[in-house]
Amino acid sequence: MKRMNIDTHIQTVKKQEDTVANKSVWSDNRFWQRTAAWVTGFASILLIWLTFDTSAQIEMGTDADLKNGVTKRVPGPTVINYKITYEMDAKRGHEIPVIGEKESFFGRDDWSEDEARGMLHIGKLGSQAKNCMDCHTILGNGAYYAPDLTKAWLDPAWGPDGAMQALTGKNTKEEAMAEFLVHPDQYPTHARMMPDLGITEEEAKGLVVFLKHLSSIDTNGFPRNFGRIQGAVNGK
């Protein structure tokens, strides 16, 4: 701003001050302008401060954390070596993911941190490259044309009693999921079918890693009652 402009501005402001001197502050534009600046500044600073706190809490954990039983809101990628369940926590009053004993995943339960991180990287990239969130929701965000994927890894449909292992001819959850992702159009479950997105076997494996890791994230109890009700409901 040029010097002259500032001077003129100050003069105008002074003139305004004179004329509003006897009037209430509540009808003074400059009072509200300052209020707007202070309120916005204060809210922004609070948000930035909370962002620092939250960022520390949502940093991805490590393999050492998992081995030492350190609970992280977003566990490390080697969580794929463990069994994950979703259980009611009496203290917190909602369900939380529980990381349990070792579990075989694509034939192994000793995926190294680098291997797991690499597969998760492909899976997360794949989830974006295939526009997953424009049909599905992930953490409840996305489109509503297909089921939420937040806890898809824990969905009874993919478990030993579910239909999907038999349908895809696979013996494990992860293999059934990967097979479905590579050839979704060959396994129609409903009139609304997932299209063939050209997912390769390596990408499918990455996506299953992504989904298993996703199910281990502490989402404050969302979704509620996941997978609790199985079988018949209302006689159906």
């Binding site: 701003m1 209020t35 974006q128 965000n141 050209g198 409901v233």
Partner: protein
């Protein structure tokens, strides 16, 4: 537009932005119809233009036409507010073509390439796959350059010319609006971190900076269309800015309930987002109050004619005041508390809110600005409603309200069956989707979508022809 009355190049450029925006508005509705048909007939265009692609185009066209119309609105009002021609208008014109060309390329890639392999090249050249901001990274940088040019024009003009409260608010608001886009331009393997920053773009746009933009545009509209008193209007504007940013910035907490972020966001999000409707009530009262005040003053002088010099635009502005409050305020508040949101998050309920809020808060006022541009371009003193303008506003509003009600009912089924009863599993999801109320909701949404689209055709016809209509006072 050969025979136009515009002497300002800035306003000329604004009409380009409005024209492109209106075209994209049509595209948005068209792809929305494709997606709506797919809910009713899942086989429709399966494997050719799948739901995901139709939806990307539906929501990206929405965001982009609004951004175009917002840029257009600023270029339109700048000469009026600052009293000078916009500085750097040549660069502005060049950037318009860069922006428009980039959008066309992005759309063609969405349509014909659709998806890519799971590597960085897809993120850079095909899609980023992040809802609303799917545009590939190269386009992100293009958008940053265009936005910087736009903000530079606004700042240089705003600092050299007269400094009105409206321009001051717009300067602060637009730099935040442009800057926030940067928060959506990185890749991380951590989905929680991804979503955390993604909301900085989406939420701080539509529930903070865009709302403040609407406040500024409404202020400009009240001054130009009904001759409202600038001091009163600008005082309200500052109050609105305080309330919008005071509630909206921390209201972001309502997106942090379930994405892996700490539990304290429940309280912060619940409190501040519950306050978010308040400024929208204030804005509604403000528009009606100023209208009544200026009309009353005129009647006191013994003149019974309307104070409004642009009937169709003012209709859309009043609709904005009400629609913002209803769509963003009421429909937003319905499901903003964590106790409710636990069950409604990620259902058609959100979609119902999204439709009415984007329409009520943004589409309305931007269409209003298009009418103001038609008035200015054709040198009309008092612009009147035509049959087409009345049909357009009635059909579009009725259509969007109809879609909202239909989606709300479908959302209830989803909340009760898929969520509360069945616990959100795959089986639960499809149980909800096959419910009779849900299916009928989707049928009605499609019907109302068609009504909206027909209304858009009337709107396009009116915007293109009303300027030459002899009914207006010149």
């Amino acid at each position: 537009m050969a025979s136009n009355h515009l002497t300002s190049e800035s306003k000329q450029l604004a009409t380009w932005y409005f024209t492109f925006a209106a075209t994209l508005f049509g595209a948005q509705l068209l792809f929305g119809l494709v997606a709506a048909i797919q809910y009713v007939m899942p086989g429709f265009l399966y494997g050719i233009l799948d739901f995901s692609i139709a939806r990307i185009l539906h929501i990206n066209a929405l965001v982009v036409w609004m951004v175009f119309a917002m840029f257009g609105s600023v270029y339109w009002l700048l000469p009026d507010e600052t009293g000078i021609e916009t500085i750097g208008i040549k660069v502005g014109k060049l950037l318009f073509w860069v922006f428009a060309a980039a959008i066309v390329v992005v759309v063609l890639v969405y349509l014909f390439v659709q998806v890519g392999p799971a590597d960085e090249t897809t993120i850079w050249f095909i899609t980023e796959g992040r809802e609303y901001i799917e545009a590939p990274r190269w386009a992100d940088w293009g958008i940053v350059v265009v936005a910087l040019g736009f903000v530079a024009n606004l700042f240089l003009t705003g600092m050299k010319g007269k400094q009105s409260g409206i321009v001051t608010v717009l300067m602060a608001d637009m730099i935040a609006f442009a800057g926030l886009y940067l928060a959506g331009m990185f890749f991380t393997d951590n989905i929680t971190v991804d979503q955390y920053w993604w909301w900085w773009v989406i939420h701080l746009w539509v529930e903070a900076t865009w709302e403040v933009f609407v406040g500024a545009i409404a202020a400009y509209g009240l001054i130009t269309m009904i001759g409202a008193h600038r001091k009163v209007v600008e005082m309200w504007l500052w109050i609105e800015v305080s309330m919008l940013f005071g509630s909206g910035i921390l209201g972001m907490g309502h997106h942090y309930f379930w994405i892996g972020t700490p539990e304290y966001w429940w309280e912060i999000g619940a409190l501040f987002s519950a306050l978010e409707p308040l400024p929208l009530v204030a804005m509604f009262i403000h528009v009606l109050y100023d209208w009544g005040k200026t009309q009353g003053a005129q009647e006191e002088r013994g003149d019974d004619t309307s104070v409004i010099n642009n009937k169709p635009a003012f209709t859309w502005f009043v609709l904005n005041a009400f629609g913002n409050f209803l769509g963003a305020g009421i429909w937003g508040f319905f499901h903003t508390l964590p106790q409710v949101n636990l069950y409604t998050h990620g259902t058609q309920f959100t979609s119902a809110h999204g439709h009415l809020a984007f329409f009520g808060a943004y589409a309305t006022i931007l269409v209003g600005m298009m009418y103001i541009a038609v008035q200015g371009t054709n040198g009309i003193k008092v612009m009147k409603n035509t049959k087409a303008s009345i049909w357009a506003v009635s059909m579009i509003t009725g259509g969007v309200m109809g879609m909202t009600v239909a989606l709300t009912i479908a959302g209830y089924v989803q909340v009760l069956v898929s969520r509360a009863q069945m616990g959100a599993t795959w089986a639960g999801y499809f149980d909800g989707q096959s419910g009779a109320w849900f299916a009928q909701g989707m049928d009605w949404r499609l019907i109302m979508g068609v009504v909206t689209f027909l209304g858009f055709i009337m709107l396009a016809k009116d915007l293109l022809t009303t300027g030459k209509n002899p009914v207006h006072e010149r």
